[in-house]
């Protein structure tokens, strides 16, 4: 808070901007570049797969099952003779969509809930958070399995289940950020100026917690990608024949002894995506989240 600034000169306060010490390299830059590159790579894969894949990712072939890498099949074929390279490429679409959907659902619920809990009178707000605790205690994967059992297996059910699972964590973080903003004098000044809660939330709270929100979104994305792979692995995620990394892993599991490489490729894809989002999240946190600010 106390940035060194020029004391006003003898001739009064000339309106020159406060002088700052020369800027260091901003926190988290390396992490953001590394994470951004990995995430960019995955997004690029998804975009390319929309217009072109080496082979048709869904075409099976009884004659060329479990082949090794070749010019025709770059990464070989799986137990049904499908081209693994094409499947890995096309399989990136679903995790990204699920990640995006999950973050949207989670934040559309979590952010307003968190802000509302912080803004409401003490008692009611605390009860809202107790409800939130109960929701948070409920495993998202279990919720996904129940929803899949009731409404059938689909990408949509997975998104909603994972989003609902993400929301309580978001609400908790957003509430603490909101309380911080509300404790500042400018929030008090707005109230003393007769401004209502909705104005406060939109004009003061949201802009000042956007850093926290971005960080949470990135981390939520990574969790969602991993959870989607897990659901697909269990057969509760995206139904066949749409290619998906999680189901590729499950298929590969049955031929693990004969063709171990078939596990490697989708596994690596999931790992790289999650790693990318986590690195990006850590980098953004270093830059935006004041609580993580290092005192150097």
């Amino acid at each position: 808070m106390s940035t060194p600034e020029t004391a006003s000169s003898t001739t009064g306060e000339t309106p020159q901007p406060a002088q700052r010490p020369p800027r260091r390299r901003r926190a988290g830059t390396g992490l953001i570049i590394a994470g951004g590159t990995l995430v960019g790579l995955v997004v690029l894969m998804a975009l390319v797969s929309l217009v072109w894949t080496p082979q048709d990712p869904t075409a099976t072939g009884a004659t060329n099952r479990l082949e090794g890498p070749s010019a025709e099949h770059w990464l070989g074929t799986d137990g049904l003779g499908r081209d693994i390279a094409s499947m890995v490429l096309a399989g990136s679409r679903v995790p990204l969509l699920v990640g995006l959907g999950t973050v949207c659902v989670g934040f559309l619920i979590g952010v307003p809930y968190g802000i509302a809990a912080a803004l409401t009178e003490r008692g009611a707000g605390l009860w809202m958070m107790r409800g939130n605790d109960i929701a948070q205690a409920f495993p998202a994967l279990l919720l996904a399995i129940i929803l899949a059992a009731v409404f059938g297996v689909s990408t949509g059910t997975a998104v909603i289940a994972l989003g609902l699972g993400l929301a309580p964590g978001v609400a908790r973080v957003v509430r603490s950020g909101t309380l911080q903003v509300l404790s500042r004098d400018y929030a008090l000044a707005a109230r003393a100026a007769g401004r209502g809660s909705i104005y406060l939330a939109l004009r003061h709270v949201l802009p000042n917690i956007r850093g926290i929100i971005i960080v949470q979104a990135t981390v939520g994305f990574a969790i969602a990608v991993l959870a989607e792979a897990a659901l697909s692995f269990l057969g509760l995620g995206t139904p066949p024949p749409t290619p998906s990394w999680g189901r590729m892993l499950q298929d590969a599991q049955s031929v693990l002894n004969i063709a171990p490489l078939t596990v490697l490729w989708p596994g690596m894809a999931v790992a790289i995506t999650v790693l990318g989002f986590n690195l990006l999240g850590d980098g953004l946190r270093d830059r935006f989240d004041p609580r993580m600010e290092r005192t150097r």
């Binding site: 003898t10 306060e13 309106p15 406060a18 004009r203």
Partner: protein, 597 residues
């Protein structure tokens, strides 16, 4: 007297930017030097460079030498080059030959360690290295005895008990005494004190200052006292160094510098600190006007007030001067015919009594009644925890009282729904203390200023914002900028502009100038004065600073422990206090050695 410390051509820079520009100074043994400067003058960095505690990215060049004691042959060659000393050399010096007291007593002690253990740690750390040089009079003293001795010497009551408590169980003043005890534990040759009393209340500040002077004297140490407060320096130092923008502007014995300042900046600083006013206009002297006024005779602020308040037409100069009765019953202070603000028997307590008497009830306000008449400038003074912030939140209907009532223009405002307080939000506005926290960093100045105008169009807002920017003395170009582009004083001007945008009838100023440098403080007070006249405001001015309240207000109420103990015309209250607490408070203000005294 032999030399203790010499700094020659000391430069401190952050990357390519220089912050301290080649300063030279020296401190003799047993000398007490005050280093004075406003924020950004480089005084704290100078101090940290002495201790080798400059942060990463900051580097010091030049020469900085701690001289050995020439009075004894063993130590005569103990010269230490402080800029090139390694961490080992520093470790044996810090807390031993040099020690430091920091500003913030709340964070300077380890919260998870008993106070006695923290003091003992400092002793043990250096005793190993210098076991030969134990105090001669008590060669067999154990560390525990020494700790109790030290705590006793800084006048902590019941040292044996105090040694066993944790820092949070002590008050701020007590913690600062413990810091002092730790700093003095090994009889340092140089004690560095960086704004050690700024965070303390005036009455506590006085005790700590006296104690510090006494301790330094007894140990024969030198003192480098860093502060922005000229009054405080007068209490403890022999010689002052005035710094500005990383340069030493003026240095000399305190009497000489304070009575015959040579540099214009020193003159401006002195005038601003004493809240000296221009005799003809009655306005506070600011750095711009101080030289023009130098030809005229300087008059202290009090003179101006007594003249103007009796001259002002219709000013209720005859307000009763009342104090709380012996039996504790409180009258209605400053009673008026048709008050703008009417407060009756206001109480506010926090916490619940709880089951079986567990839980704690804190009574922040205990029956406060007063009136404020239209056009009055009503000051409320008190130390931290006296309930003035609570009172303020109730006056502005941002909190509900436990009992009692607040009426504004004869309408009750406590216990009303927010919807019914629309009129109040337009007619009563607040200026907060911290100009950093009271402006949203993500909003432009236009949006900040016009926030209270909730049903004006975009063009109307912009017009009004520009009008106000001009009135508070900021350029129109400021409108589209963000708060971080402004200095503290400019930010406070923006906050004042926001408070006036609705053309309110009542302005509440909560420590509105406490966070500002003295030279800026005078400018902002002048501005407030002008605007109060221009907008015909009734002002409630809350502050811990008695000088400021005396200057700015007609009527002053003194608060202590949740009640108003005394209230009356400003001069009467401070010159002839009726309540012992007011007298104590008035006596505790650090006095500046001054040519008008």
């Amino acid at each position: 007297m032999s030399r203790l410390l010499t700094a020659e051509n000391l430069d401190i820079s952050a990357g390519s930017g220089r912050i301290v520009h080649g300063i030279d100074f020296a401190i003799d043994r047993g000398e007490r030097v005050g280093l004075i400067g406003e924020s950004g003058s480089g005084k704290s960095l100078t101090c940290l460079s002495l201790m080798g505690l400059l942060g990463d990215g900051l580097s010091a060049t030049g020469s900085l030498t701690l001289h050995g004691d020439t009075s004894s042959p063993e130590t005569a060659s103990d010269d230490l080059d402080l800029l090139n000393a390694d961490e080992n050399a520093f470790s044996s010096v810090r807390g031993n030959r040099m020690s430091m007291v920091f500003q913030e007593p709340m964070t300077a002690l380890n919260p998870l360690m008993r106070v006695g253990d923290q003091v003992a740690e400092v002793i043990k750390l250096h005793r190993r290295a210098q076991s030969a040089s134990l105090p001669a009079d008590q060669p067999n003293a154990t560390v525990e005895d020494r700790v109790l001795d030290l705590l006793d010497s800084v006048r902590i009551p019941e040292p044996a008990r105090a040694a066993r408590v944790y820092p949070h169980q002590m008050s701020g003043g007590q913690r600062q005494r413990v810091m002092l005890a730790m700093a003095m534990a090994n009889g340092p040759e140089l004690l560095l004190a960086d704004e050690p009393t700024t965070a303390l209340d005036v009455t506590v500040q006085k005790q700590v200052l006296t104690l510090m002077a006494e301790q330094v004297e007894r140990a024969g140490s030198s003192l480098l006292f860093i502060t922005h407060d000229l009054g405080v320096v007068s209490e403890v130092c022999d010689r002052v160094i005035i710094m500005r923008h990383g340069r030493i502007i003026e240095t000399g014995p305190i009497d000489q510098v304070f009575t015959r300042p040579e540099h214009p900046y020193t003159r401006a600083l002195l005038a601003a600190s004493a809240l000296r006013t221009d005799h003809s206009s009655g306005r506070l002297l600011t750095p711009d006007t101080v030289d023009a006024a130098a030809q005229n005779q300087h008059r202290p602020a009090e003179d101006r007030l007594s003249i103007s308040s009796s001259a002002e037409a219709g000013s209720p100069a005859a307000a009763a001067h009342l104090a709380i009765a012996e039996d504790g019953s409180a009258p209605v202070f400053n009673q008026a015919e048709s008050p703008v603000l009417e407060v009756r028997d206001l109480t506010r307590s926090y916490g619940k009594a709880g089951f079986l008497g567990r839980g704690r009830v804190v009574e922040a306000l205990r029956g406060v009644s007063f009136d404020v008449a239209a056009g009055q400038r009503f000051g409320i003074v008190g130390e931290s925890g006296c309930g003035k912030s609570t009172l303020l939140r109730l006056l502005t209907a941002l909190d509900e009282p436990s009992s009692g009532s607040v009426r504004v223009n004869d309408q009750a405002i406590s216990g009303q729904r927010e919807r019914r307080l629309r009129w109040l939000r337009q007619s009563m506005q607040i200026v907060f203390q911290d100009p950093m926290g009271s402006l949203d960093p993500r909003m432009t100045v236009v949006d900040i200023i016009t926030e209270p105008l909730w049903n004006a169009g975009r063009a109307e807002r912009l017009r009004r914002a520009k009008e106000l920017l001009e009135q508070v003395g900021l350029p129109q170009g400021a409108a589209e900028k963000y708060p971080h582009e402004f200095s503290g004083g400019q930010r406070q001007r923006i906050a004042i502009a926001r408070a006036l945008v609705t053309r309110p009838k009542i302005l509440i100023a909560d420590e509105a100038v406490s966070a500002l440098d003295v030279s800026v403080r005078a400018q902002v007070l002048n501005l407030l004065d002008d605007l109060v006249d221009e907008y015909d405001l009734t002002m409630v001015f809350v502050s811990h600073d008695l000088k400021v309240v005396r200057h700015s207000c007609d009527i002053v109420a003194v608060m202590n422990a949740g009640r108003i103990v005394e209230c009356g015309p400003a001069d009467a209250v401070f010159d002839t206090p009726k309540h012992p607490y007011t007298a104590e408070l008035a006596a505790a203000i650090p006095r500046m050695k001054d040519n008008v005294a």
